[in-house]
Structure formats: C-alpha cells, structure tokens
Symmetry: C2
Subunit: 362 residues, 2 copies
C-alpha cells in the first residue's frame, strides 16, 4: 500500500469533519466542528464558545522575530479573535506548554506575562494548564503552546460563518496587509537594513508598524460586540488565513447549511480594500503587489463579515463612531458567479485565483 503524505490543513479538517458529521446533532451541541469555535449550551441560557489552537516554534512563530512576551501575547490574541469572530466574549483559558530543556525561568516568566497581560486586558481567567518537557532532541527552539479558550455569547447574538445571502455587502474592520508585510520584512532582514539606512523617518515608522502588527496583532473584540449586540452581520469570520481564503468560508458553509457548498459568490472592489499604508510601502520597497499582502497575507485578525445593505452602513457608522476603528465595505455577495471575483476599473469581472495562507505550505 502506498503511503500518502499528510495533506494541507484544510483537507485534513474536511477529512476530520466527514468522520464527525453526526456530532452536530447531539444534545447540548449548537454547532460542531467547522466554525471558528464549537458552540455548546452554557449556564443561564447562554451559549459557550470553545476554540483550541496549537502553536509550534519555527512553524507559527520565531524567537528570532518576536520576544517571548510578544509570542505569549499573540498566542492569547489569536484565540480571543476566534471568540470575537462569533460575537462572543472570552471567559476562561486553559494553557498547555512544552519547553525546550534550555528554557530558563526568566524566559518562562516573559512568555507567561505576555499571555497574562492579554488575559487581564480582556477579563479572561486562566483556569488550567499543563507544563511539559519538549522534544529531547531539541535543546533549544522546542517551544509548543496550546491554548483552549472558552467564551460566552447570548444565543440571539451568536454569529456563525453561515448566513450570508445574495445582495449582502462584505465588510472588513481596520486595515489589512501589515502582518504579511511585517513578516516579509523580518524574513528579508538584508532589505530591511538597506532600506532603513536610506529611508525617510516616516517610512521607517511604517516598517516598524508592519513588523509590530505581525508580532502582536489587534483584537477586534469591541467591534465584534457592537456587531453582535445590534445583530448587524449575517455571517462573520476573523482574518487569520487571508481575506481571500477566509471569505471563501463565508461562501461555502461546511456543516448543515441550507444551501449547497459553493453556491454563493463574492465580487470584491479592489479600490475599496483597505490596504494599510505600511503594507503598501513595504510592497513598493520589496517589489511586491500590495493587494497580495492584503488578500492572501493572513494573520491580520480583522473581522470580515457580511450584512444586508442597510445594516452594513449602520455597522460602519456605529463601529467607527464608538471604537474609532475604520470599517470598509469591500464588495458584495452574489449568486451570479461562484467563488471570489475582482471587478476592475472598466467594470470587467475576473476570478481571483491566488491561494491563501496554509500552515502546511509555509
């Protein structure tokens, strides 16, 4: 029997989903595998949101690029972002760690303080965990972090990936591209040094912003709460794998949707996509396409959501007024085309082809 290699992450998830398809119908389960969080019945009529995320050193983060304090912050933030993506609030965290043998108590404290700082900021309690020795072969660089987060949401305020419909507008909080641009800068240090030496101060500021946002992403929790409390979105996801990839999840609900997979399409308006100034500058310097950072970059942790046109403008207005975070209306959901399309200046529609971020390809 020939031995097939482990497929890319999304295929593996589909394989697991197929094996677990019956789970969603069980007592106490509102939503099974396939969204940002699983949704369970909780106390006092609320729903519980549960998400888990494993981070491996030199796969998901690098101590060459980020301090342990930043790595701890980000590990917590990416999980909070999954709770925010469903309209909920984070409550409890369970942290498993594996340390390389060279890890010192000071290093532990830096990592831990980063996690706890974010937990405190969002009134999140660490209630359990597990500490372990990492792989004996890896004397250094063997850090593994797994965080399971439990959040809460009122049933009427839950927002899933399923629910977008023909004519809905597509919205995005904040600006995108920073994280991918920052990672590009970090991995091409030579360019960074060259560029920095000959760069204007405002450019250096932009580079630093991109790098910093890669190290410690934003958390759009207040924005998510406005959307969920006012029932403004028909579907929502956080941008972890790139707008293009994550938008596809809003077009192809995987479990128990009313419509067939891939029945919906999206048309994006390139000039409306909020590429950050920093990402644009980095792209110019490194000879890249700013829209690639923005649509395929990943790890922006902005909220991508769909809403009926009147709710869309209300969401934009409310969020911008209450949080000062900008909201962009970047396209619309359609049944006329399948998948994601871009519309150019002449009104021509062309399919968007580039693939998103995939942990197995990185």
């Amino acid at each position: 029997m020939s031995s097939s290699k482990i497929p890319a992450e999304f295929q593996l998830i589909e394989r697991i989903q197929a094996m677990l398809a019956s789970a969603a119908a069980e007592k106490g389960v509102i939503l099974g595998i396939g969204d940002d969080c699983a949704v369970l019945e909780g106390a006092e009529g609320k729903y519980l949101l549960v998400t888990t995320d494993m981070l491996i050193e030199d796969v998901h983060f690098s101590r060459a690029f980020s301090s342990l304090h930043e790595i701890g912050q980000k590990a917590m933030i990416v999980n909070i972002s999954d709770i925010a993506a469903m309209g909920g609030e984070p409550r409890f965290a369970f942290i498993s760690l594996a340390f390389p043998s060279s890890f010192s108590l000071e290093e532990f404290d830096q990592l831990w303080e980063g996690m706890i700082e974010v937990a405190r900021r969002y009134s999140l309690l660490v209630l359990g965990g597990d500490t372990n020795a990492s792989f004996p072969q890896l004397n250094d660089h063997g850090l593994v972090i797994n965080i399971t987060l439990i959040g809460e949401v009122q049933p009427s305020e839950l927002i899933s990936r399923q629910g977008a419909g023909e004519g809905d507008l597509i919205l995005l909080t904040g600006q995108i591209g920073d994280s991918a641009a920052g990672l590009d800068l970090l991995t091409s240090r030579r360019f960074f040094a060259q560029a920095a030496s000959g760069s204007k101060p405002e450019d250096i500021c932009c580079y630093q912003q991109a790098v910093q946002r890669h190290r410690v992403p934003v958390v759009r929790l207040s924005e998510s709460r406005i959307i969920s409390r006012h029932h403004l979105a028909t579907a929502m996801i956080d941008v972890s794998d790139g707008v293009a990839t994550d938008l596809r999840h809003l077009l192809c609900p995987r479990l128990g949707g009313q419509r067939e997979m891939g029945e919906l399409g999206a048309i994006l308006w390139p000039e409306k996509i909020p590429v950050s100034e920093a990402a644009a500058k980095v792209a110019r310097m490194l000879g890249k396409e700013p829209l690639t950072y923005a649509l395929c970059g990943g790890e922006d942790y902005e909220l991508l959501f769909t809403a009926t046109p009147d709710q869309a403008y209300k969401a934009k207005e409310l969020i911008e007024r209450q949080t000062l975070t900008s909201v962009s209306i970047i396209g619309e959901i359609t049944e006329k085309v399948k998948g994601i399309h871009l519309i150019d200046g002449q009104g021509q529609i062309a399919p968007f082809l580039a693939a998103g971020f995939d942990h197995f390809k990185r």
Copy 2:
C-alpha cells in the same frame, strides 16, 4: 542576572497557581487551577469539568513501544481519567495535533481511529481541533497531541481533591504497578527477550499484561460514577503520577482549603496495597521492588479516594458487585503524623520517602 533552569513540573504549577490565586473567586468558577479539572457552571444547573493535557513524542509516549492506534487511545483515556477523578462524565473533546513531515495519511488514520474508538466507547464527541506541521528539524518523531476535554457532573456529585479528614480510610480501585513494570520491560528489551525465552507461559502472559496496560490504561468511569452518585468519597484523584505522589495531593489541598497545607497525614498498610501479579513477577525478574512499581510507578489511572469507614466498606461492596473491579482499603488518614507513612509487620511506623513520577525528570 543568573538564569535559573525550569523547575520540575509541580513547582511550575505552584508558581502558576500563585499568580492565578484570585481566579477561583470569579463568577461562574467553582474550582480554579489545582485539581484534576477546572469546574465551571454549566447548562441546566450542572457543573462543567475542563481538563487539558499535552503529550510529546519520546517524552510521554514512544512509537517504539506503542502503535499509533494505542497512542491515540491512551491520549484520550488519560483525559477521561481526569474527568472520572472528579466524579463526572466526559462529553466533548477538542484535539490539537502537530505532525512530523514524514507522517503519512495512514499513520494519521491509525492515531485518529484510536482516539475516536475511545471517544465512541464513552459517548464522547470530538467537536473541534487544530492540525499543524510539527518542528521542521524533526523529520520523524515530532508528534504532539493536545486534548482538552469537557465533562459534566451534577453539583452534588462533584468530588474534589479537598475533603479528606482524620479517620477516613484510603481506597484504591483495581491493581497497581502494571504500567511502570510494563514500561520497565519495554525499556529493557534485552531482559524481556532473555526472560521470554526461558519463561513459563503464565509468566509471559503477565509480562504481556503489564506491557499492554502501559500502552492502553484502564478507565475507571463506571467505578467513579458509583462513588459520585452514592456520595461515597470525601476526596478523590486518579493515579497518574504514582500512589505516593497522588496521595499527597489529597493531604495538601492547594487552593482555598479549610486547613493549612500538609496538616493531614496518611498511614499505608503495605500488605494491603494491591500490587498486580504481573508487576510482582516483572519486579522479581528485573531485581526491583514490587512496592516501588506500585507506589511510585504512575500511569495506572486507578482511582485513589478517601471515605469515612462505613462509606468505605459500602464503596468496596458496591463497586465490586456492580463492576467486578476490586477495591482495596490501603490505609487511613491521620492527623498524628504529617505526610505519608508505612506501617510494618511489627506495627512500626516509618515515613515513606521515595519521590513520585515527574515529567521533567523522566
């Protein structure tokens, strides 16, 4: 500043606990860090039990000693055992995996089938997960498994580590020592081969039993449910780190107990400790002390609990009748001595000194 090495697991847990001491007083939290599971308010007046456990290849398991199917089974079982230790029933699992690059789809299926087989047996649903590439430096042997389990228990049936009192008897389900003896056999394959060639068939059977029990431990879920439904225990824990180490947790409740740390002691009756026949035979062959396997071995996943004398005999009778699992009364809780003591044939009491199993020393 000198850099101190990461301390052994228990010290690290104490350090984390000290940082998180306030967590237990929060809304919705019944028990914070420091027991087998965290305890939260759940739906319909029930309590939720949450536990998380990370397993690292060649630290916690070895593919040289166990098949991937067995590794998957054990990963699920050790978490179910934490739920059983508090009197609850497992409901939902969240699995994070990191695979080495050489991992094949067939290998994934073997591991997954092991986990799902156990999940099905205990009506446990897998509701989420995360799949990742493991450390790039580890082409092989880089498997990481993290399981977070959510269980349920009626508030009146919850059993914590806190609650043992003077005069309580100490009870243990089943027999102990197999897992440590099995691991010893596996790590001393030369002895195993020699012994097997010159051994009687019944001895070989014993060796195989010990090895098998190391690979796939028992789950004492029915036994736990009898204890919790009938309110038979004052405190309970599962034997993961060795009876001696785990018993200490019942003497020194770490969080919010009514008594000072270490105020209680335990006297064990060596002749009552249910050392398995297999462990005794392996000890004889390898020139070891059977009681060391039994008290310091770890990974037996039997239930260790305390009960008032009349409840103790009732527990023994009910469990043995309803499950066919033997229950041994192995000692008593006392305030006369501190820590764990053994009483010898002449009635002399001597402190028990050997340390338990610790993941960082392994």
